[in-house]
């Protein structure tokens, strides 16, 4: 079932004569079903030749120069194999076919520069798959992404103008979008081959991405004329190596007038000497997320690495103690730690702990049972006595939003050890227990003013509960609105938090120790045991 009809003949013949490959001919003849593209290249050439056969056939064959011997031998073998599979008939014409085949294969297509030729072959797909296998990823499906050199768009444009003109002669029109996109045709051909080779489906939504970047240095200059025609499309940017990005070229092609293009770029595009090359074949797995709750039992452990002027203040951090273990087990490239709020270096987090989530970037291992995760949690807990982790689980990226919401709206409970300048008795502090929903005004604490806007924020101290210790000390349990600065509420921050424990007691108070007793966020869900 050769897909071209009689009406396509002039176009097909014309393109073929300019050095265009059969699959690109299909594309420009708007063949939008997959099967023909998947046929072996040799068959396509043969069928196309047959289709285009006319009286002057012999002339075409005569024009074909004999190829190099070596290549002929190699291709001849492949051809014989193929023929035997297909029933092994027509051995007599094998030689002729070889000549035709080599003619096409020696010449890279003037439109796709070889993308729909050798890069559709099993041999290339196998090469990519070997790379995938050796990268050591766990995956159950994949997405295949390709990046073509920008000049392909220029050549595509030139071919389109040409075909449009030819069709115009027949009184037909051809829109830019009527043509089958190169990328589409390439997908139709390669996806089944990947599935077959790797044994998993190709799925656009897969987190596992195999990407190939093609380049064709020989024709890189194809784009250059566009920068004089449409200078405003090619603005240099810091992070770009070249101004000729695919996007910029497509934009410029959209703008340029047909006659200007034709003046400056050959239509049909000339035949290149070489094929594209796959300059980069890479694998990457989308991030996976792990959440849980942590306790922090140390007053010398910051939540994130504490580095001032490039110098480390303390050797570890909560984020590193947790994430380094995850990084190893998930074989990830890097991590991003986030949590529902944070505590100061000298503050402990007790109770059920603080919700956190870790994004594992480009993980090699992603398939875990709940038992695996439980073991991982134990591994973290054994590794340090400064922190403990619970409710460890795999979560989605979206679910992390719950944690951040909680950060702003939920209440927190704390326990503070308070010092007072005045000698106190039990009765002197009891009044604090009776204060409910005390409204306080906090100016941005001096200790964070260098990095936060200066503002006065109103916060609510929902409840307080005092436990008398001695003449100058008591323990204060507080339940507060999220975002309350507790240390400042106790010592007053130079009178910038009003009222404060000192002012309420008509004296001076200071905070000696602070513990977070609970972070009242119900995400991630608690796990049994």
């Amino acid at each position: 079932m050769f897909p071209l009809a009689e009406k396509d003949k002039p176009i097909a013949r014309f393109l073929f004569s300019t050095g265009t490959c059969p699959r690109c001919i299909f594309r420009f003849c708007c063949v939008d079903f997959h099967a023909p593209y998947k046929l072996p290249y040799q068959d396509l050439i043969r069928e196309l030749e047959n289709f285009l056969k006319t009286e002057d056939d012999d002339l075409t064959l005569e024009a074909t120069k004999p190829p190099l011997k070596k290549i002929r031998l190699q291709d001849g073998e492949a051809q014989i194999d193929d023929c035997s599979q297909n029933g092994g008939e027509m051995t007599a014409i094998v030689k002729d076919e070889n000549m035709m085949l080599e003619k096409s294969y020696l010449n890279a297509c003037n439109i796709c520069l070889g993308i729909l030729q050798e890069f559709c072959e099993k041999k290339f797909i196998k090469k990519v798959c070997q790379k995938v296998e050796s990268a050591g990823y766990e995956f159950t499906n994949l997405v295949f992404s390709v990046s073509f050199p920008p000049q392909l768009s220029v050549r595509e444009h030139a071919a389109w103008l040409l075909v449009k003109q030819e069709m115009g002669k027949q009184g037909l029109s051809l829109g830019r979008d009527d043509i089958v996109q190169l990328k589409e045709a390439y997908k139709w051909i390669t996806h089944p081959l990947f599935s077959e080779e790797l044994g998993v489906p190709v799925d656009g939504k897969s987190l596992f991405e195999v990407s190939v970047i093609f380049a064709h240095p020989e024709t890189d200059e194809d784009c250059h004329f566009l920068s004089t025609s449409c200078p405003d499309c090619f603005k240099p940017a810091k992070n770009k190596q070249s101004v000729f990005t695919r996007m910029a070229v497509v934009k410029a092609l959209d703008k340029i007038k047909e006659e200007d293009f034709r003046k400056k770029f050959p239509c049909p595009p000339n035949s290149p000497k070489s094929f594209c090359s796959a300059v980069e074949i890479e694998c990457a797995h989308g991030a996976v997320f792990v959440a849980g709750r942590y306790n922090k039992y140390s007053r010398n452990l910051p939540q994130t690495p504490w580095i001032i002027d490039g110098e480390r203040k303390l050797e570890s951090s909560v984020e590193e103690l947790i994430s380094s273990q995850l990084l190893t087990v998930f074989k990830a490239e890097s991590f991003n730690f986030s949590s529902s709020g944070r505590e100061d270096v000298d503050v402990r987090t007790l109770g059920n702990g603080r919700p956190f989530a870790v994004e594992l970037v480009n993980p090699r291992r992603v398939q875990f049972t709940s038992r695996d995760i439980k073991e991982l949690q134990q591994k973290i807990n054994i590794s340090s006595d400064k922190i403990q982790v619970r409710d460890l689980q795999l979560v989605t990226r979206e679910a992390i939003g719950h944690m951040k919401e909680g950060e702003e709206v939920k209440t927190k409970t704390y326990s503070a050890l308070v010092w007072t300048d005045k000698a106190i008795q039990k009765k002197d502090i009891e009044f604090l227990d009776d204060l409910k929903d005390l409204q306080i005004n906090q100016k941005t604490p001096l200790r964070v003013l260098h990095r936060r806007p200066l503002a006065i924020r109103t916060r609510i101290i929902h409840t307080m509960e005092t436990h008398y210790i001695d003449e100058h000390h008591f323990r204060l349990h507080l339940k507060t609105q999220a975002g309350t600065y507790i240390k400042e509420f106790v010592h007053g921050d130079f009178g910038r938090t009003k009222p404060n424990i000192g002012s309420l007691m008509d004296g001076t108070a200071d905070i000696l120790e602070l513990d977070v007793e609970s972070v009242d966020v119900d995400w991630p869900p608690a796990l049994n045991d």
């Binding site: 007053r299 001032i308 050890l417 010092w419 300048d421 005045k422 100016k443 001096l446 200790r447 964070v448 003013l449 260098h450 990095r451 936060r452 806007p453 200066l454 210790i469 100058h472 000390h473 010592h491 007053g492 130079f494 009178g495 004296g507 001076t508 200071d510 000696l512 120790e513």
Partner: protein
């Protein structure tokens, strides 16, 4: 407490400070004394260490006698927990600001580079018997520190201060007027408006609630802004020398 401040402000117009009854004269100060004298007992878990230079410094002043000794009354005894200021700030001093004898300033620099401008203990305003009549942040006809507004994380719109920039003028009941200067280059974050309503906190708690202003030095100048200032030790030496000179040449 507001009522008695007002009351005394009225009263001092009529009375020379010497005529005030002893209890009343100390009225404003008693709190400050208590605050500074109150011992901070060792913490239950022996958490903090006292900075050595602090207690030594205070003891040496103790020997020097005079006003400061009272502040350091407890200095020699049990190790105390460091105060809020000692925990997070470094004290820098400038003596005889703008050439005016004894008008010493103390700049508290936080480890995040923020500077809190305060009066040093030895400043005439903090000596016995001074009564503050008014504090004025209007430093010239068209510049008031109260007009300072900062917005956003990057504190746009802040007034820029040089070392010599005046922050406020404080006039006393005895007719003296003192100018408080920034002493550090940087942008003005805020001035302490609390002392306008209640000037006595300036004397009661000069290094905490009685601060004058908050200044944010440029990031690249966070170290250099304190270069011309005295360390706590150097400052104490200046004060001791000053007292000795006074007793030698009466």
């Amino acid at each position: 407490m507001g009522w008695y401040v007002e009351f005394w402000e009225q009263l001092v117009v009529w009375f020379d400070w010497k005529l005030r009854p002893p209890s009343a004269a100390g009225g404003g100060r008693s709190h400050a004394h208590e605050a500074r004298c109150a011992r901070r007992p060792p913490l239950p878990r022996g958490k903090a260490e006292v900075r050595g230079d602090l207690s030594v410094g205070l003891r040496s002043l103790d020997l020097a006698g005079a006003e400061l000794a009272m502040a350091a009354g407890a200095g020699g005894i049990a190790p105390a927990a460091p105060s809020l200021v000692d925990r997070y700030f470094t004290r820098w001093y400038k003596a005889d600001v703008k050439g005016k004898p004894c008008e010493d300033h103390c700049i508290l620099q936080h480890s995040n580079r923020i500077c809190v401008i305060t009066l040093a203990e030895s400043h005439p305003l903090l000596q016995n018997g001074k009564t503050i009549k008014s504090i004025n942040y209007q430093i010239s006809a068209n510049c008031s520190r109260l007009q300072n507004k900062v917005s956003g994380k990057f504190k746009r719109g802040a007034q820029f201060l040089t070392e010599l920039a005046p922050l406020c003028r404080i006039s006393c009941s005895d007719g003296e007027e003192y100018t408080v200067s920034s002493c550090v280059r940087g942008r003005l974050m805020e001035v302490n408006e609390n002392i306008l309503d209640k000037p006595s906190i300036l004397q009661e708690k000069p290094s905490t609630e009685g601060y004058i202003a908050v200044v944010l030095p440029k990031f690249e100048e966070s170290k250099s802004v304190t270069e011309g200032l005295l360390t706590q030790k150097e400052y104490e030496e200046v004060v001791v020398k000053r007292i000795n000179n006074r007793s030698e040449t009466p």
